[in-house]
Amino acid sequence: MIPNDVRITPELIAEHGLKPDEYQRILDLIGREPTLTELGIFSAMWNEHCSYKSSKKWLRTLPTTGPRVICGPGENAGVVDIGDGQAIIFKMESHNHPSYIEPHEGAATGVGGILRDVFTMGARPVAALNALRFGAPDHPRTRHIVSGVVAGIGGYGNSFGVPTIGGEVNFDPSYNGNCLVNAFAAGLADADKIFYSEAKGVGLPIVYLGSKTGRDGIHGATMASAEFGENSEEKRPTVQIGDPFSEKLLLEACLELMASGAVIAIQDMGAAGLTCSAVEMGAKGDLGVELDLDKVPCREDGMTAYEMMLSESQERMLMVLDPAKEKEAEAIFVKWGLDFAIIGKTTDDLRFRIKRHGQVMADLPIKDLGDQAPEYDRPWIAPVKPEPLDPSSVPAPNNIGEILVRMLGLPDMCSRRWVWEQYDHLIQGNTAIGPGGDAAVIRVERGPKGLAFTLDVTPRYCAADPREGGKQAVAECWRNLTAVGAEPLAITDNLNFGNPEKPDIMGQFVGCIEGIGDACRALDFPVVSGNVSLYNETNGKGILPTPAIGAVGLLDNFEERVTIAFKAEGEAIVLIGE
């Protein structure tokens, strides 16, 4: 049992990933020493993962609007109009550190998280993709990580019932101690039936939905923002286990619930689940939130407020309920065998108040938790451009054919069939172009419209010239979409970098964002959602800068899609472009 009134020592503050000046900021905001639960709440809200404290300034420079954009960054996922009253909702998110520690469950829960982001907004998921980066093929851990990650992604998506139709797999020694698992999901909804996280109305019930809370991943969100050291293997038990079966039930129950008109606001519980979701819902709606943790369905005995507020148990949601529909809503959840518990209410005092056993364990200004989070303008330097290679230092091959065969067999070039055959890419019956092409295409419901999806980035280019690399990633997405006959609509991004406190890494980050922004502005290709993953370092060595871009395009008629295979003998081959 962890008491709530322990003395807050500098060690404890550091363990929570808070810097001394950040702690001072907390003292200034609340005018007293925080309780342990409060410290936990601040650490969850103010870590890099939730607060975007190093990246916010730069993310604001991205173009995020356009005639088709219904909802840009700031919600669970971005929403884009595809005509006929329909919308596509999509986002990409990383689960890098958890996947390195426990590849199967880390990757699985990554997929689970991104699917929830999409169906929380009222969409039925119709496509999943994933961008994966692993260490050198001959590194002793690589094989274990690759097979675990691929099985984990497949295991979750296949069971959940979404076709996994594309992605990327690359290898580089810079990922030896830090694999990247970026999961993308897209869902379809009616454009006038999108659900948001902003709570509305005072005194309304706050409902907990889904699976029970356990001690999973406590401090996972903090872990995800801390550099790995030699002893990272010891942090293992904080890993969460994915349960795609419960998630599938949660999807069906949520969609049924949304159709019933009972949902006023809804938010999934991701990193630092209850804390981030409740604060976000209240703060967005200019409302306070009061939670009675005795009502939270728990899987384990004796959980403290601290543990419940930081638990990362999966397959959970929080919603504000229309009280008139309470019985109806509960019946839906009972039918699907999921927990449904009223655990609190909205208030008008802008406080975030947490009770346990009748005692107040935390009482904080709700807006400040988000708004007053530290924001940094980290110093950065433009990385030094590498010297161009001297062509004469690379001898011409004797035999082009031999080189071609060797190239086709390289880990980064060879067929990815061994990966995507483990993914159900046909379920739902709408896959028009599956994995293996430039972009994947699905039919929209029963047609005739189609949607195209692609994920791209070339980290080598980003390392050589971040700005050009950022541009190139966006441009490649654009080309892949147009190559299948789609009109590019919008993108999501997943910005994976090393330690932003190092000026050269920050320089990579800034350069890539500027490049992405340039390309998006030039192409009218807005950024509607995204995710930032920093501190991807082991023993002080960062990964290659890897700003993965996920892009979506629209086809008026899926039958007009174009595939990469040559169609007949004797036809002309034309090379276009510069």
């Binding site: 426990e102 199967h104 293992r236 890993v239 286990i241 349960d243």
Partner: protein, 81 residues
């Protein structure tokens, strides 16, 4: 020598399988089931006849492959054949 290995989930680790079995037992009408946890049971036949050596080998196998020590515990029993 025959080794019997039980691999179980660590305490507190979510066990979706156990939870589903628990629910199924309930709907089959079994009452009073308080919890179900599912693990693995593995039998390995070894050529090794020295008990000590066999034990060490099996322990190594558990660590390297049979158990996922991130989330699982294991227990070994050895039988002479």
């Amino acid at each position: 020598m025959k080794a019997r290995i039980k691999v179980t989930l660590k305490n507190g680790v979510l066990d979706p399988q156990g939870k589903a079995i628990e629910g199924a037992l309930g709907s089959l009408g079994f009452s009073g089931v308080e919890s179900v946890r599912q693990g693995k049971y593995i039998e390995v036949e070894l050529a090794e006849t020295d008990r000590k050596k066999a034990e060490a080998a099996i322990d190594e196998m558990c660590k390297k492959l049979l158990a996922n020590t991130v989330i699982e515990n294991y227990a070994i029993e050895l039988d002479e054949k």
